[in-house]
Homo-oligomer: 342 residues x 2
Amino acid sequence: MQLDERKVKILQAIIRNYLETGEPVGSRTISKYTDLNLSSATIRNEMSDLEDMGYIFQPHTSSGRIPSDKGYRFYVDSLMEEKVAELNTMRSELELKADKIDVLLQHVAKLLAVNTNYATMVSKPKAKHPKLKFLQLSEMDMQKLLVVVVLDSNEVKNRIVDMDIAVEKEMLLKLNVVMNTFLQGLDLTEINMSVVQQMKQQAGEYSTLVTNILDAVADAVSEEEDMIYTSGATNILKYPELNDNEKASKLLYTFEEKKQLTQLITDSMDDENNRGIQVYIGDETPLDSMKDCSVVTATYEVEEGVYGKIGIVGPKRMDYEKVVNTLQSLMVDLDNIFKEKS
Amino acid sequence: MQLDERKVKILQAIIRNYLETGEPVGSRTISKYTDLNLSSATIRNEMSDLEDMGYIFQPHTSSGRIPSDKGYRFYVDSLMEEKVAELNTMRSELELKADKIDVLLQHVAKLLAVNTNYATMVSKPKAKHPKLKFLQLSEMDMQKLLVVVVLDSNEVKNRIVDMDIAVEKEMLLKLNVVMNTFLQGLDLTEINMSVVQQMKQQAGEYSTLVTNILDAVADAVSEEEDMIYTSGATNILKYPELNDNEKASKLLYTFEEKKQLTQLITDSMDDENNRGIQVYIGDETPLDSMKDCSVVTATYEVEEGVYGKIGIVGPKRMDYEKVVNTLQSLMVDLDNIFKEKS
DNA sequence: GTTAGCACTCATCTTAGTGGAGTGCTAATA
DNA sequence: TATTAGCACTCCACTAAGATGAGTGCTAAC
């Protein structure tokens, strides 16, 4: 059997209607509210076909139909085709005041959640191998040394290092210069034993301090915690089909913990093909707690090799059209914001 | 009528039982499971008295009794009396590596949530008027200046300031010295126009830069965002009495937003009498979304004038005894951790 | 190929009935 | 006088039995 044009129209009508109401949709509804001018009986025949083909199914005998995962998939795919062209032009080249990026991304998550009424997540763009821009060593007190690490992305991190022996001001200045000379522009993989040895040599009796500082730097650079901003998790409770209190609970927990979300995002990010907008329906999502949901993610590229993801989690009867459009226009907005700022 | 010893015992038995089961408790239950050896009829009479006095009530005619807010209040107060003495010795003097404090507090929130099965929150200790320990100005690139602000509490913040005119390395060093000389040890209220003027004078043509830097410093010092760490918010769904999906939703939202939590905590913190452990029952809580809950908070003092709060939110039938004990022992643990670290 | 019509299914809502836990009251007892 | 046993009563929670209605599948006619 083949999906002719009429079947496609009916399928789309069924899905759209279901997205609105959340109720199984019957043949009479479709026959009344479409421009097809077909009787309910005809629709019934077509629906029966669509069911055989696996696009829709009945939750119980003699109820209306709801879209299967395959049905959603078809809907999304046909929707996507129209959008893909635009999407390719979407790369936002964001390089902005990095100290505000946390606030911004949190804001984006919130905005998206408020606009869509779904749960959202935004991951912080992270370079695979961030390079060091410079270090700044300052004495906090007799025993403590403040190490400020500035990355190529203008991200600033700081660590406090214990000093076993008192270090004179001049020595500190010298250390500062030495370490910067050696480390500037390097990423973690490039800081090898040879480099370390040379630095230690120059530091003389303070070579242990150098080791401690390097540890702190490595720690700061590789820190990954809290890379994800979420919002609207409570929106999940608005959808009866997710609200069986077992599922909702698990889902909310996933959002609270965030750890699994990181996995979801990094998983989908490693795949080079997964740029642009991606839709996971039901079982397609990598996370167990989301098997009854749909997840839409979008990748954005801040600069060469630095990607972040924006994701939306909602019920399978998600308003895919709106979500995709919102994601897109959000990207454009982001683009503008970043351009203004930089 | 008076609360004689027997009434107290019966009231406590009722509350304990209700805490365990979550069901209204009847006279027969009490007569069987206490060492009072009274018949259910006697208990009934006493219960009737307790109801008249407002400590318990029937959710509907001829059902068992459940504690009223007043009943909980009595229970908690009599519980507290035993504990207050210990509590006064509890102040933990935490001064630790400030860069790890975020992680630590998040961990505390989680630990507490896992142990109690309630929702928890921990506020970051914040001095009313934090003093500046020192500043560190570094050049990021031609147009950007990195300002690192270190507070008395060893907290480190950074801001990026735009430079309109290029600044020479030497000038930057000088500015660094000048600003530190003037600002070290001051809090925001002490940086007055006189101080600002003197600094500007020394800075000569770079006086606008000084203004910008000061703005950044003020911004960094007064920043309050994300002062609260939460965990276990999803535990709320475990309690049927909160799970009417309207209430649960609001509660979870409160935890997601955190803004209101800040209010709850700062509200209770301003009151000088509210040190130590505090219990809000039902309507006593300042937040609307928690009118059906109980909230237990504990204040901890890091150093003179620097307080933080730990809070637990759960159903009114909270296991107050356990919560209070847990909060206490957690304090002790914290104490030890901080002592090791500092 | 399309449609009208009819018998059938099944979730949902309503209603009535039942059981049980619990109370209040009264009269008897220690 | 305080305590207790006993009984009538209340009301929630649960179940079973219709009633309703939306929706289907199938057949025969157009």
